[in-house]
C-alpha cells in the first residue's frame, strides 16, 4: 500500500504552527526515516496519519483513495499503526490482554485462538515475550515488542516507530533493527522517526528531513552524514549581526570537569569551558547529546559533579517555556516576578501594584501582545510567551545569560527579535551561553563555538576558526 500526504498543515489551538504544508510519500516495503529536531513536526505529521490529530488542511491518500483517520482504531483499520514514544499499553493488564484490546473496543477475553496467533507473530519476529505478565512488570524494550506484535495482529501494513531507541539499551537497539529488516521482508512499510543520524545511516532506505514544519530535503543512499545534519539544523546563511567589540577577559561562568548522571547513565562526561563577559558561546550539537543536562546542572535544577562558578548572577531562558519557565495558569504579572518576588516586597508582603507596573513595562518594552497584565500566560501565543520569558530574564540584570533553544518554535520575526536582544545584552557586557541545535543561529550570534557529542565537548574555538564542515562532521560524531 502506498500512502501519500499532501500539503499537510497543522495549527494547534495555542497558535503553534507545527506543520506548514508537508507532502510525503511512503512506499510499500520500505523503511523511511523521518529525521528532524524536536519540534520540527515529525511526530505531529505521523500522528495525523495515525488518527491522533486531524490536519488543519491537507489530504491523506492510501493507494490513491482519500482517507481521514478519525482515531487510532480507524487508522488501524486502514492498516496504519503507531508505536508511540511514550508507549500506550495499559500497565495493569497482561501483555496478551493488551494485544486483545483496542482503543474504543470492548475487552475481549484472551482466547486460545488469539494466543496462538499472537505467539506465531512473535515467533516470526524472533520475540520472546512473557504474555501472561502484567505490562507494568515488563522492561521497556519488551513493552515495545508487545506494541509491535499488537500492531501486526490487527493487520497493520505500515508501522510508525516514534523515537523507538530512546528506551532501549544498545543490544536491544540491534535487535530492533533486525526486526525492522524482517518486517520489510514481510512487505510491511516502516516509518522511523528519529533525530539520531547513526541510526538513519544504518536502517533507512530513504530519509525525509523535516525542519520547522517543512520538508527540508529527501535523501537516498549512499548518505552523507554532514548533508543530513545540514538539512536538519538549517544551512548556514546568516552573517554575524552587529556584535560590537571583542569578548572581555573576565569569566562570568566557569565550568570545570562537570559530570551529570541520570538513571545509571553518564549524560555529561567531564565538560570544561568558560564564558567571558561580552562573549556569546554557542554550544551546538544534535539534541540529546547531553546539552539539556549540562544546562540544568549549570542553573542548579539538576545535580552534577564538578565545579560550576557563576560570577554576578544569571538569567535563564529554558528550552521548554511551558514546563520550565512559565506557569500557564497564572497571570503575566505573577509570571513576571518569578525569582524576583523579593524585589517587589516590603516587610514580606508583595506589592502587586508594583509588580503590575513591572509587567506592564515588560509588555511595552518587549512588544508582548496580551489582553492585559492580568491575563493568564496560557492566553498568549507561543511567541509572546517566549517574549515574556526573555523579557523577564533580561531584566534580571545577571551578567550571565543561559539561553537554551531560545528561538525554537518561534516565527521568523520573533526569532530575529530574540536574537537581537541576546546580542545587545552581550554588547552591553553580559556573557551568553547559547545552547542550540540551530547552526544558523549559532553562526549568527556566537563569538565562540563548541560542539557537544555524546556528553563531551568534541570541538571548541572562535567562530572564524570553526568551519561549517568541521562543525557538521563533529556534530554527526565523525
Amino acid at each position: 500500500m502506498k500512502i501519500s500526504l499532501r500539503e499537510i498543515h497543522k495549527v494547534f489551538s495555542d497558535g503553534t504552527h507545527a506543520l506548514r504544508g508537508v507532502s510525503l510519500d511512503i512506499f510499500p516495503g520500505e523503511v523511511l526515516a523521518l529525521l528532524g529536531e524536536n519540534g520540527a513536526g515529525k511526530t505531529t505529521l505521523m500522528k495525523i496519519l495515525a488518527g491522533v490529530y486531524r490536519p488543519t488542511s491537507g489530504e491523506v491518500y492510501i493507494d490513491g483513495r482519500g482517507v481521514k483517520p478519525k482515531n487510532a482504531r480507524d487508522a488501524l483499520r486502514l492498516g496504519i499503526a503507531m508505536v508511540h514514544q511514550h508507549l500506550s499499553l495499559i500497565p495493569r493488564l497482561t501483555a496478551l490482554e493488551n494485544v486483545a484490546i483496542l482503543e474504543g473496543a470492548s475487552l475481549s477475553p484472551a482466547s486460545a485462538e488469539l494466543r496462538k496467533k499472537v505467539e506465531k507473530i512473535a515467533e516470526e519476529l524472533g520475540f520472546d515475550i512473557e504474555w501472561d505478565r502484567d505490562v507494568e512488570e515488563l522492561p521497556l524494550g519488551m513493552r515495545q515488542r508487545v506494541e509491535i506484535v499488537k500492531a501486526l495482529y490487527w493487520g497493520a501494513d505500515l508501522l510508525i516507530l516514534d523515537e523507538p531507541t530512546t528506551v532501549l539499551s544498545p543490544p536491544e537497539v540491534k535487535a530492533l533493527f533486525q526486526v525492522i529488516r524482517r518486517l520489510k521482508e514481510q512487505g510491511k512499510s516502516v516509518v522511523y522517526i528519529t533525530h539520531k543520524i547513526p541510526e538513519v545511516l544504518e536502517i533507512a532506505d530513504r530519509v525525509a528531513v523535516l525542519r520547522r514544519g517543512l520538508k527540508a530535503a529527501e535523501f537516498a543512499p549512499p548518505y552523507d552524514a554532514r548533508k543530513l545534519v545540514e538539512a536538519m539544523v538549517g544551512e548556514v546563511k546568516g552573517e554575524s549581526v552587529e556584535r560590537l567589540g571583542k569578548p572581555g577577559e573576565r569569566p562570568v561562568l566557569e565550568v570545570k570537569d562537570l559530570w551529570v548522571y541520570e538513571g545509571g547513565r553518564t549524560v555529561v562526561q567531564g565538560v570544561d569551558f568558560s564564558v567571558r563577559e561580552r562573549e556569546i558561546l554557542a554550544i551546538v550539537g544534535v539534541e540529546g547529546n547531553g546539552q539539556e543536562h549540562l544546562v540544568e546542572a549549570i542553573v542548579g535544577v539538576r545535580k552534577g559533579r564538578g565545579v560550576v562558578k557563576i560570577h554576578g548572577g544569571y538569567a535563564y531562558i529554558p528550552d521548554d517555556r511551558h514546563k520550565k519557565a512559565l506557569i500557564l495558569e497564572m497571570s503575566l504579572v505573577e509570571n513576571a516576578v518569578i525569582g524576583k518576588e523579593g524585589e517587589f516586597a516590603r516587610r514580606g508582603l508583595i506589592s502587586w501594584r508594583d509588580a503590575e507596573r513591572f509587567a506592564a513595562k515588560l509588555i511595552e518594552e518587549f512588544g508582548i501582545v496580551a489582553p492585559g497584565p492580568w491575563a493568564l500566560a496560557r492566553q498568549l501565543s507561543g511567541g509572546n510567551q517566549q517574549k515574556l520569558v526573555v523579557g523577564r530574564e533580561l531584566s534580571r540584570g545577571g551578567r550571565l545569560i543561559v539561553a537554551h533553544q531560545p528561538t525554537r518554535g518561534l516565527d521568523v520575526a520573533t526569532t530575529e527579535y530574540v536574537q537581537r536582544l541576546l546580542i545587545s545584552a552581550r554588547n552591553a557586557g553580559a556573557g551568553v551561553l547559547l545552547v542550540t541545535s540551530d547552526l544558523d543561529e549559532a553562526y549568527k550570534l556566537a563569538d565562540t563555538i563548541a560542539v557537544m557529542y555524546r556528553g563531551k565537548i568534541v570541538a571548541y574555538g572562535p567562530v572564524d576558526e570553526m568551519g561549517v564542515e568541521l562543525v557538521g562532521r563533529k556534530m554527526a560524531g565523525l
Binding site: Y316, K323, M330, V337, G339, E341, G348
Partner: protein
C-alpha cells in the same frame, strides 16, 4: 468575575447531586426527604441560638480546612490536620493540668501549637528531605496521635471526678459564650480572622507566592531560585498552626465541657470535615470559610432533622461523603 462563575457552577452542581442522592437514600430507607431537609436547613437559619451553634461548629472545621487548603496550594495532599488537632487539644489539656488559673489559656495556645507543629514536623521534614509521600506519613501520624492522646487522657490527664474526660480548663482560662445561652465563643471570630490572615498571606506575602509557584510547578520554581522543599515546610508549618489551634479551641473555648473527651469525641473527625470544607471552598481561604459555615449549618441542622423528622443523624455523613466524591471527581477531571 468570569473566573468565579465556573467554580461556583461546579460546586453548585456537586451540592445538588449530593443532596439529590442523599434524598434518594433517605427515601429508600423510609424517611421523608422533604421534611428532613426542611428541618435541617430551616431550623438553624431561623433561630439565633441554633445559628450560633452552627457557627460554633464551623470554627474548628474552618481551621482544619485551612490546613488542607494551604497544603493544596503548595502541591501537598496534607491530611494531617486530624492528628494535629488531637495534639493541639492535648496541649490545652496539659496546660489545664499544669496551670490552675488564667495563665492556662496562653499556655494552652502555646503548648497546643507547639505539639501540633512537632507532629507535623515529621511528615514535613520527611517530605522536604527525602520526598516521602505526605499522604502515607500523615495518616500514620494521625493514628499515632489518636492512641497517644487517648492514652494521655485516660491516665495522667484524666479527670478524677469524671473519668470519661480529661481535666477541665480552669474556669478563669475559659473562653465563655459571647451571648449567654449559646455556644458562640471568641473561637468563632478568631477562626474567621485566621482565614482572612491566611488569605492575605497566600495572596500578598513573598512566602505565599513561593508556595503557589512551587505548588504549581516545582521545576519552574527551582529554575529561578525558589526552593520547593522550603515552601513545603512553610505550608506544613502554617497548616500545623491552624490545625493545632482548632484542637486548643475545642478544649478552651467550647461549652459546655471545656475538656477533652476520653474517646476524643470533641476533636474526632475535624481533620476530615476540614478536607470537605477545603474542597467545597475550592482551596480558597474565604471559600473555605463559607464552606465551613455551610457544613456547620448541616451539622447543627442534622440534630434537628433527627428530632423533627426522625431521620438519623448519620445521613449528614452520607451527604458529606457524596459531596466530597463529586468534588473529587471534578478535581480529577481537571488533572
Amino acid at each position: 468575575m468570569k473566573g468565579l462563575l465556573l467554580p461556583l457552577l461546579n460546586t453548585g452542581l456537586a451540592l445538588l447531586l449530593a443532596f439529590a442522592l442523599g434524598a434518594a437514600a433517605m427515601w429508600i430507607s423510609g424517611y421523608d426527604p422533604v421534611l428532613s431537609y426542611g428541618s435541617m436547613l430551616a431550623t438553624p437559619l431561623s433561630d439565633q441560638t441554633y445559628l450560633f451553634s452552627a457557627l460554633a461548629f464551623s470554627a474548628p472545621i474552618l481551621l482544619t480546612g485551612l490546613t488542607f487548603a494551604v497544603g493544596l496550594k503548595s502541591g501537598l495532599f496534607n491530611i494531617g490536620a486530624e492528628g494535629q488537632a488531637y495534639m493541639g487539644a492535648l496541649g490545652a489539656v496539659v496546660a489545664a493540668y499544669l496551670a490552675r488559673d488564667v495563665l492556662a489559656l496562653p499556655l494552652a495556645v502555646l503548648l497546643g501549637l507547639v505539639f501540633a507543629a512537632a507532629w507535623s514536623a515529621v511528615p514535613a521534614l520527611l517530605r522536604s528531605w527525602r520526598g516521602v509521600n505526605e499522604v502515607v506519613s500523615t495518616i500514620m501520624m494521625n493514628w499515632t496521635a489518636y492512641w497517644l492522646v487517648i492514652m494521655a487522657v485516660s491516665t495522667v490527664f484524666a479527670n478524677p471526678l469524671q473519668p470519661e474526660e480529661s481535666v477541665k480548663m480552669p474556669e478563669a482560662a475559659r473562653l465563655t459564650p459571647l451571648f449567654p445561652g449559646t455556644d458562640l465563643t471568641l473561637a468563632v471570630p478568631l477562626a474567621y480572622l485566621t482565614a482572612v490572615l491566611i488569605y492575605v498571606f497566600l495572596r500578598y506575602s513573598v512566602w505565599g507566592y513561593r508556595i503557589s509557584i512551587s505548588g504549581q510547578n516545582p521545576t519552574v520554581a527551582k529554575a529561578y531560585g525558589i526552593r520547593p522543599e522550603q515552601a513545603v515546610l512553610v505550608a506544613f508549618g502554617i497548616g500545623a498552626l491552624t490545625a493545632g489551634l482548632a484542637g486548643v479551641l475545642q478544649v478552651a473555648a467550647r461549652p459546655p465541657s471545656y475538656s477533652l473527651a476520653r474517646n476524643l469525641a470533641n476533636v474526632y473527625g475535624l481533620g476530615f470535615d476540614g478536607i470537605a470544607a477545603a474542597m467545597l471552598g475550592r482551596g480558597h481561604p474565604i471559600g473555605v470559610l463559607l464552606a465551613s459555615v455551610f457544613l456547620g449549618i448541616l451539622q447543627e441542622g442534622a440534630r434537628h432533622m433527627q428530632i423533627e423528622a426522625g431521620t438519623p443523624f448519620e445521613f449528614i455523613r452520607v451527604i458529606q461523603g457524596l459531596l466530597i466524591l463529586f468534588l473529587a471527581l471534578q478535581m480529577l477531571r481537571k488533572i
